[in-house]
């Protein structure tokens, strides 16, 4: 059967055959063509680069007075011409190499409905946006490694030419001078993060279990309220929360940060959605074997939903690690690490380097946790959808 793209009469079994169709040109010939084209483009890049260098050095000599103004070839149009030509050649080379790579390395994995030019467009766009996304993060790491004179140089460079850890050691000196020891802030944050996450895990997964697996009066209404509560950010509830906390006499204690974290809606939401994927037969079988609800929850359900509780832990840790609690905690000795670091960051120009070091320290923890656990997180997020 001749397989034509888009032919409606193809049997479903043939789809796989079409996907594995070999590329039109044989690999050997394609490689030769690829080599010639990239060599040509490279030659253009080198040539324009040399011309630009020559023009630069001529211009310098004119400036120094060793060469007459007339010796400069033509006008600025030359310069623009070479610059544009060079940029075009580099772009063409990049796109061409992309094409060659996809064709040579990957002909079998290609899916139907994908034009190769579309793929190249997507990859180029992805690369550009990815670089733009990473740039500020890289920039903060690089700035934290710059000595003072490089932080204030014109024109600034992204990467330091003399890498130094001075900013970090300065940071520890600054921290050491404050009358509350640095370790105190760290202990506060670790305490808040640990207690808040542990409580959240137990409380929210118990609730998620019954909401997901039993149909009792009020369960649907309760869950829809929780979904609406996904939108209550800490800001909207900040002021009434302050009033409630002060009535509970919990202002200026760590509980004011920990207790609301127990009931974070996002954790319950993700856990409930994930638990719905567990077969009900598992629970019924346990019932028949005479296990109580709590036993079922603790020994059967919890081990099965490990990805979900890892995700819960990570979301909760991220939230609490970044919580500065500035609105409910006032004593210096009870402040969190992030809050203390923000105070250093607010130190102005004199602390530019240290502020960059602070940024790096604070951002590394959540990113590292995410990288370590991203498989489980993605597995959980697969069931995160909101049903109608």
């Amino acid at each position: 059967m001749s397989a034509k793209y888009g032919n409606k009469s193809i049997m479903p079994a043939d789809a796989a055959v079409i996907i594995e169709q070999p590329a039109k040109m044989s690999k050997g010939r394609f490689a030769v063509v690829a080599l010639i084209v990239s060599a040509l483009l490279a030659a253009v890049i080198v040539f324009t680069g040399l011309r630009l260098n020559l023009l630069d050095s001529l211009a310098l000599q004119v400036e120094e007075g060793t060469l007459a103004q007339e010796a400069l070839p033509g006008d600025a149009a030359y310069l623009v011409f070479y610059k544009v030509g060079r940029a075009l050649a580099i772009a063409a080379l990049a796109i061409f190499l992309c094409y060659a790579l996809i064709r040579l390395i990957d002909p079998k994995r290609r899916r139907p409905n994908r034009s190769i030019w579309g793929d190249i467009g997507v990859y180029v766009l992805l690369t550009i946006v990815a670089v733009a996304m990473v740039f500020p993060l890289v920039f903060s790491v690089a700035s934290s490694l710059k000595p003072l004179d490089e932080l204030f140089r014109f024109p600034p460079r992204v990467f330091p030419s003399h890498v130094t850890l001075d900013n970090y050691s300065d940071l520890f000196v600054t921290m050491g001078q404050s009358w509350v020891p640095f370790s105190r802030y760290l202990v506060n944050t670790v305490l808040i993060t640990f207690l808040g996450t542990a409580g959240h895990l137990v409380v929210a997964s118990m609730a998620a279990f019954v909401l997901a697996k039993y149909d009792f009066p009020g369960s649907k209404a309760f869950f829809s309220i929780v979904v609406t509560a996904l939108m209550f950010s800490g800001y909207v509830t900040g002021i009434p929360n302050y009033i409630i906390m002060s009535r509970l006499r919990m202002i200026d204690t760590h509980w004011a940060v920990i207790l609301p974290a127990f009931a974070a809606p996002i954790g319950l939401f993700l856990m409930k959605q994930f638990m719905e994927g567990i077969p009900t037969a598992l629970i019924e079988a346990a019932h028949i074997d005479g296990a109580g609800e709590f036993r079922i929850f603790w020994t059967i359900i919890m081990p099965v939903v490990k990805p979900a509780w890892l995700t819960m832990i990570i979301f909760s840790v991220q939230g609490l690690w970044n919580a500065n609690g500035a609105t409910v905690i006032y004593s210096e000795s009870k402040k969190t690490l992030v809050y203390a670091l923000q105070q250093i960051q607010a130190g102005g120009i004199a602390r530019t380097g240290q502020a960059a070091a602070v940024t790096v320290i604070v951002m590394l923890v959540p990113i590292a946790i995410f990288i370590a656990s991203q498989n489980q997180i993605l597995e959980t997020m697969a069931s995160s959808g909101l049903k109608d």
Binding site: K8, M11, P12, P112, N113, V122, L125, L126, V129, A130, M133, V134, P136, L137, S140, S143, F152, F154, P155, P156, M206, A207, F209, V210, Y214, F216, P217, V227, T228, A229, M231, F232, Y235, V236, T237, G238, I239, P240, Y242, I244, L259, P260, F262, A263, P265, I266, F315, Q318, Q345, A355, A356, T359, M363, P366, F370, Q374, I377, M381, G385, L386
Partner: protein, 312 residues
């Protein structure tokens, strides 16, 4: 007429009695739910209720709240010029960053979906990192700094686009665009993760079937197969991006200063903070919170009903 009503009442009563019976049988369920429900009520529901209550009062924490009816709302709309600026700014930010951030999250989740596994992992980390990197956005203070040492200024000056440094974060004209760029940078959050995971879960057989049925290119495939199967994630992502788009607070406070020049970077939430935690006018701040809350709920309802129509 009367008998129909009687029947209806009886039906409701029966339903209620049945519900109570069922609830009694499932007592243990409520026991499981109880700890969460108490905390959730205390720290998420009660705040909303108290917020609505205090919005009708004058309350400065020291004196007991005094009922003043709609006065707070009237002041908010008729007297408070800054609030109107804040509303305008919040809407500009929400209308631009909300939909664009949402669409970008989906598009990039979709683009990276077909990459080999290791590359996909890398891409997820790269796109997601800005939204979890705590207050890493303060690095934009150095990028957009108003003197010649600012990265963007020096870059533009070197290439001759500008002759004098632009005060990106102090000039009311440039504050908003800068904020929007930074917020967009951070907009690939939980919704993005949900999209990535959801796309992995779309049944591969559907694509093959679609191919056989004559789908010609990736955009048709996206519209007819991928989007309909992604609807639950799309709804979830919408909730997350509405929350993000309306609760802009940290970014303008850290970058544009607090208060910013001419209130050019004032948003509803920073306004709320100003009255709540700087001036301690809790009643007035509560009315701001109530307005914000209502706007968010309405927006959510509108967007959910819009998204239900996608691809059907």
């Amino acid at each position: 007429m009367k008998s129909t009503l009687g029947k209806y009442v009886k039906l409701k009563q029966d339903n209620f009695r049945y519900g109570v019976e069922k609830a009694k049988r499932m007592k243990v369920c409520y026991l499981f739910l109880l700890p969460y429900a108490i905390l959730f009520f205390a720290f998420y529901i009660l705040p909303i209720i108290t917020s609505i209550y205090y919005s009708f009062t004058y309350y400065n924490i020291l004196e007991p709240p005094k009922f003043i009816g709609l006065q707070n709302y009237i002041n908010l709309i008729l007297q408070d010029q800054v609030f109107l600026t804040a509303v305008k700014n919040t809407f500009v930010i929400a209308v631009i960053t909300g939909p664009i951030g949402y669409i970008l999250s989906f598009l990039f989740a979709w683009f990276i979906n077909e990459l080999p596994r290791w590359l996909r992992t890398l891409a997820v980390v790269v796109f997601y990192a800005p939204s979890i990197a705590a207050n890493a956005f303060v690095i934009f203070l150095y990028i957009f700094r108003g003197d010649v040492y600012g990265y963007l200024n020096s870059f533009l000056m070197q290439f001759g686009f500008i002759d004098a440094p632009v005060l990106w974060l102090t000039d009311p004209k440039t504050i908003m665009p800068v904020l929007i760029v930074v917020i967009l940078w951070m907009s690939m959050g939980t919704g993005f993760l949900s999209f990535v995971a959801g796309l992995q879960g779309v049944d591969k057989k559907m694509y093959e079937a679609g191919y056989v049925d004559g789908i010609r290119n990736r955009w048709q495939e996206l519209y007819y197969i991928t989007l309909p199967s992604m609807k639950p994630m799309l709804l979830f992502g919408a909730v997350m991006s509405i929350t993000q788009a309306f609760n802009v607070c940290d970014v303008p406070r850290a970058l544009a200063g607090y208060p910013s020049t001419d209130y050019a970077a004032r948003t509803i939430v920073t306004h709320l903070f100003d009255y709540g935690f700087s001036r301690f006018e809790m009643g007035y701040a509560s009315s701001i919170a109530t307005v914000l809350f209502l706007v968010m709920i309405l927006c959510n309802k509108a967007i959910q009903s819009m998204l239900r129509k996608v691809g059907t």
